[in-house]
């Protein structure tokens, strides 16, 4: 059984069915009726007067809460949603690796050019029993010959 306060509140908020409301209103004195009318007016003013302010810096709340979580639960496993694309850093690393691989392969596979051939700085493995390597500057204006395991170059040996 509801007490008077609960029934009055239900009546004021329109939460009674017709029969309950008629019975309650029949037992209500004039002053209570008048107070109910006054409250309905005050309620309208209250709702108008106490308008909520928009939340300032809403995204800041997210970042603060998540930072607190990470701080307070450092061991918390953080699962990430499945991604449709590989992260950029993975793609960048793969790109660097492929470039290095291509450079290495081109050095091994590309045909050797003769010294002095047009082009940039070049190195050529010479056909010599001394294992010599020549470095040629662009346009053939300068050449460095690097000879391994040889104290001197015999006179009958020369660059072809």
């Amino acid at each position: 059984m509801k007490n008077f306060e609960e029934r009055y509140t239900a009546w004021l908020d329109g939460e009674m069915d017709d029969r309950e409301r008629e019975e309650f209103e029949a037992a209500l004195d004039a002053d209570s009726h008048q107070e109910a009318v006054e409250w309905q007016r005050l309620r309208g003013l209250l709702r108008e007067a106490v308008q909520p302010a928009p939340m300032p810096h809403a995204d800041f709340v997210n970042s603060q809460v998540l930072a607190s979580i990470r701080r307070e639960f450092p061991a918390q496993p953080e699962s990430r949603p499945a991604r449709g694309w590989l992260p950029v850093r993975w793609l960048a690393a793969a790109g660097v690796f492929l470039l290095a691989l291509a450079a290495g392969l081109s050095f091994l596979v590309l045909p050797q050019r003769e010294i002095g051939a047009p082009g940039g700085r070049d190195s050529v493995a010479l056909d010599t029993k001394f294992g010599a390597v020549a470095f040629a500057a662009p346009g053939g204006k300068g050449t460095v010959l690097w000879v391994n395991d040889a104290g001197y170059i015999p006179a009958n040996e020369g660059l072809k």
Partner: protein, 195 residues
């Protein structure tokens, strides 16, 4: 909230329970405004309301395992926010604020007034006065009574939702509403007679 949205939210809750902060981020975005408004109405202070909003979601994260889904996530969060706000009001009352802080609160409350239509200076003054009177009247209520008034009259929640939010029976909610309204009416009687 439709059934699809409820299912989506349930999935986000489940993922959050497993430690997925991205899922929890989405839940914060969905509910932050409402949580903030409840805290703001009870506390009437923007900075404190922001603090309580953050605290609410942090508590929610810590206690997600206890959320059984009997109430909606929104009601559960409202309950946490309401309790956190009431606790803060009680602590504040135990250590009254300085005059400077009170002045700031008054300015802050007035700054929220953005009339949807142009108002004459006289109208603006009246609105500001009325708002101030209501704010002062709300301040005279106990935290528990202020919470039910805010949740009922401003947030427009049902008795059941308020009971879930505050953590008491529907009968207690109705009883508190009765006395809170009486108190407000007495505080604002002269205002009502003027209008």
């Amino acid at each position: 909230m439709g059934s699809d949205e409820r299912a989506e939210e349930a999935e986000l809750v489940e993922r959050s329970r497993r430690g997925d902060t991205h899922a929890f981020d989405a839940l914060i975005t969905t509910h932050r405004e409402r949580v903030y408004m409840i805290a703001q109405h009870i506390l009437r202070n923007n900075e404190e309301a922001l603090d309580v909003t953050q605290e609410t979601f942090l508590r929610a994260w810590k206690n997600l395992a206890r959320f059984d889904g009997a109430a909606t996530l929104g009601s559960w969060l409202s309950r946490i926010a309401t309790n956190a706000s009431i606790d803060l009001v009680r602590r504040r009352n135990a250590h009254p604020q300085t005059e400077f802080d009170s002045a700031l609160m008054s300015i802050d409350a007035a700054s929220r007034t953005t009339p949807s239509q142009p108002a004459s200076p006289a109208d603006s003054l009246d609105r500001a006065e009325i708002r101030e009177r209501f704010q002062r009247a709300l301040d005279t209520l106990s935290p528990d009574h202020r919470a039910v008034i805010v949740l009922k009259e401003i947030e427009d929640l049902s008795y059941q939702e308020i009971a879930d939010s505050v953590g008491c029976s529907i009968g207690t909610v109705m009883s508190r509403l009765f006395y809170a309204r009486k108190k407000l009416q007495n505080e604002l009687r002269d205002l009502h007679e003027e209008l």
